[in-house]
Amino acid sequence: MRLPDILRFARDAATGYPVRTALSVLAMAIGVAAVVLLTALGDGARRYVVGQFSSLGSNLVIVLPGRTGTGGFNPATAITNTPRDLTIDDAGALRRAPAVHRVAPLAVGTSEINFGGRLREVMVAGTTRDYFAIRDFDLAQGDALPEEDWNRGSAVAVIGATIRAELFGSAPAVGQLVRIGDRRVRIVGVLKSTGQGLGMNTDELVIVPVAFAQAMFNSNTLFRVLVEARSRDAIPQARDQTLTILTQRHRGEEDVTVITQDAVLATFDKLLGALTLAVAGIAAISLAVAGILVMNVMLVAVTQRTGEIGLLKALGAPARTIRLAFLTEAAMLSAVGALLGYLLGQLGAFALRQIFPIFPAYPPDWAVIAGLSTAIGTGLLFGFLPARRAARLDPVQALMKH
């Protein structure tokens, strides 16, 4: 029997029983759609988190005071007891390291900002001009912090977009004097609205020179030192040099923790990748169930068409042809179901992206390929048994059933 004939024969056989065919196609479609949609969710979560980390800036090495603190970027860890303070001079010393491109010290605290009788609580970050470059901040108006001696700290501030809107409305903000805590500060710039940033919402941030912040909070220690390596490849060197310099400055005591953004990223990447895989595995179970349903449908088909199988045998069809015809039919049910499920899954992922634009719910290629091939694979696997049963039917017995 020729291939186009087998295909047409299988197609006609499948469409000859529309309800049964539609049900098994639907089952397969739901299985594949589940794989596509769930992996889109899992991988979307992974991309979202990785994207958030990347927004911190590239080629970053982060220095935390203390040996134990390996936690995230929670400002609460700023108020921890450390053996030795991480100072502005420590941060300044890091600029000498050959693998280091830029350094930005960071002191963090909360305070109140006050302008024209309007008052609100804000997070204050004390840092230097390089911080803007490292974090890739864009300014909507004015300029970043001035380039000056890190220990001097002039009374200027850059504010986030939300704060500008709340304090000044539509009036110009740059050049205005505001009160932060009990100090008068001149606004020199306004950040572009981003709405992103892990741990800190930059739209509600006030950035002042680091020495100014330390004086305001009456503290000598830094919350973090952000170190930007010269290149991606220089990250390990920058990390080692940073650690060496700080250990020297702290009299041989290694009392800081140095983490690279890559390491943090890789951990999250791995964690969420595993989660996606687990979700895909759960969805794959529904594919197996769909495969068993296809087998059931095909077994019913063999029983229902026993007379026809007997006839085909009488007309001279060898066992191979009958096996092939039924296997093709099972494969068709699975393939059509898989394709339909793929479209449904992509449609679902598209709908998700429309509803949550920030969430990149794209199914990963491996999941799509694995889902489709598992669907067709199980269809064939579970189609094999009914096909073999059909091929082995005794023609005399089969012909009597009509």
């Binding site: 029997m1 020729r2 004939d5 024969f9 006609d12 056989a13 000859g16 007379g307 026809e308 007997g310 006839l311 085909l312 045998k313 009488a314 007309l315 001279g316 069809a317 060898p318 066992a319 191979r320 042809t321 023609p395 005399v396 012909l399 009509h402």
Partner: protein, 230 residues
């Protein structure tokens, strides 16, 4: 040379504890071009004989030579090949595939044999014309009358130009008039040289055959050829 040569054919069925001898030491020879009617009461073994002749069943003992070739020792696929090219079946209940049209049903043996589409179409068109079905080519079996269905089945049985046509009660589901038409059709095929073996209950139809076999308890009780002058 005889088309069919059966010698010492035995076919036993196990029914619970008892063994039923459907065919018991059957010897039979049918020449090419003969018109044979097989008659006998139910359970006499005539259907079993037809299944054996059609290579749908294997004997427990004995040999079956078709066109001089021992076909009992062939593999299942080799037997399928013989059925495909040398044997045509006509069934009492027509056995048409309900989802296929008349033309597709007729083309089915050629499709299974892997004959090219253009050749199939040519032969089907010719067959539809010969069997007076040209207006019914695209009708499904449930849109055809009983007589038309059996004509489609006969067209299908002859489309591969077999040497032997085996008909199992071909008029059993038809009224007398259409039955008569179908018999005429089969006899016309026989007249063109095809060997025809018909199993029937109908004595009138049996009478029309040139040779009558009467079976009882798995044996030949009467063979009209045995009395005919050699």
């Amino acid at each position: 040379m005889a088309l069919i040569e059966l010698s010492g054919i035995e076919r036993r069925f196990q029914l619970g504890d008892t063994t039923v001898r459907a065919l018991a030491g059957l010897d039979l020879s049918i020449s090419a071009g003969e018109y044979v009617a097989v008659m006998g009461p139910s359970g006499s073994g005539k259907s079993t004989l037809l299944n054996l002749l059609g290579l749908l069943d294997r004997p427990n003992a004995g040999s079956y030579r078709l066109e001089g070739r021992d076909v009992t020792t062939l593999s299942a696929d080799e037997q399928a090949q013989v059925r495909s090219t040398r044997i045509g079946f006509v069934f009492q209940s027509f056995h048409l595939v309900p989802r296929l049209t008349a033309a597709e049903n007729i083309a089915l043996p050629m499709m299974l044999a892997g004959i090219a589409r253009s050749e199939r179409d040519r032969r089907v068109t010719e067959a539809l014309k010969n069997f007076g079905l040209d207006q019914r080519a695209d009708h499904k079996p449930d849109q055809l009358s009983g007589g038309q269905r059996q004509r489609v089945a006969i067209a299908r049985a002859t489309i591969m130009q077999p040497a032997l046509i085996l008909a199992d009660e071909p008029t059993g589901n038809l009224d007398r008039h259409t039955g008569e038409e179908v018999v005429n059709l089969l006899e016309a095929l026989n007249a063109s040289g095809v060997t025809l073996v018909v199993v029937t209950h109908d004595p009138q139809m049996g009478e029309r055959a040139r040779r009558q076999l009467v079976m009882e308890d798995g044996r030949l009780k009467h063979d009209s050829a045995a009395h005919a002058p050699a």
